[in-house]
Symmetry: C2
Subunit: 228 residues, 2 copies
Amino acid sequence: MTPLPRSATDEDTTDEAGGSIYERLRDDIIHGRLRANERLKVSELASRMGTSTNPVREALQQLRGEGFVIMEPNRGARVRPIDEEFVRDICEIEVLIEPALTRWFVGIVTKADVEDLERIQADIERLNFTDELAHSQLDMSFHRLMYDKHYNRHAVDLWVRHREILWAISRGFPTSLGRQANVLSEHRELLDCIKKQDAEGAAQAIGKHVEGSGRHIIERMRLSRRGH
Amino acid sequence: MTPLPRSATDEDTTDEAGGSIYERLRDDIIHGRLRANERLKVSELASRMGTSTNPVREALQQLRGEGFVIMEPNRGARVRPIDEEFVRDICEIEVLIEPALTRWFVGIVTKADVEDLERIQADIERLNFTDELAHSQLDMSFHRLMYDKHYNRHAVDLWVRHREILWAISRGFPTSLGRQANVLSEHRELLDCIKKQDAEGAAQAIGKHVEGSGRHIIERMRLSRRGH
DNA sequence: AACTTCCAGATCGTACATTATTTGTCAAGA
DNA sequence: TCTTGACAAATAATGTACGATCTGGAAGTT
């Protein structure tokens, strides 16, 4: 339907290859440039992407496996809705998983780890949300440092996937000042608990952190939907 | 490498279409008929399945999205190892998720729900593990009855996926008598807590249930690996 | 022995054929 | 006249075939 509903923040895309077809489609879905339940016709996408149909079909199959598109036999693919419910759902899952990962981390944390975390946290506070991309990378490495050593790779992968989705959604949304302050204080509280070897407190802190983050994203989504 | 490593319990497969290509591949991976890290060559699979390469490629892409195969550009697909670690990982995730789902269920359970659950539980006890397939279907509907009404579809989907994987792995493995008794008593304990409106107790009961189930599957996997 | 060249084999992309579904048309009946 | 049903054409998904491109290893040269 909509001819070329790409956002204003298009860096490279002449008209063909941006990243891989998979990445472009996934990005378009997560950002809502492809509307919920919109039909995805392979030939249409192929001509838009400037390739033949086969790469598109394979990208769609991969996205189907990840749950971003829904396919019915002989009836093609549709966009799975990425709405506030969706965000709430994956945040609720993270509220369950991340405290468990964190609790375990407190048990194996080393002095060097704490120093690394404090260094990253200092960078975050110094940056103070002036650069969205840089902040998100620092925040990612802060949490990644805790989870990367975990033995449960499946849980960590799940976290990474959810995290990527949430970040893709919230990209472009501004972070409210209140949320900024909360992020910093929650990180500091988490760090304190880790240093005190208080696993339970750390788990609670990260739980609050995830919940607050989810609430903020949903709030922003609501506002932007109204603002449309 | 291995020409046709299909199990003895092959019902239909003449030599071509069993279910879809996707299902056959997925099943072969989960059951270990395709060994860990084994290379998956599209043309080889295509001739084995009796189709051209394209359907195989798409099935592989879908499996990649679900995490069952790993693909590197220009270097093809490999089987992701489905080992004891993998089972432990997804069970640990379920130990986090299922209690949360159950806790919520206790809050909205109706008289009719309890009666349904008791009916299913009675069927399970009457069957007493004489028919593996029938038992697993009853067990599935027991838990599904609790989770199907949950608002967090994403969490429930995750549960279903994990459940399918675990069931596919444990299919063919015998259930030890000790585990059989535990399954029954854990279900009864869960039912009691639900009837008493004891959400916390129910959550703990389901946690024990999942953990015990995971332990049992891993034990069986170890034995079968030795037995080879 | 190390480096280069070349070739077999596999992946990736394009084009086309087949099959299923949707859409549009037209005529018969209420 | 409006609805309804059957039938035909268009549209899109699914499957097949083939060429282009990349990788890995073997043979050959220095």
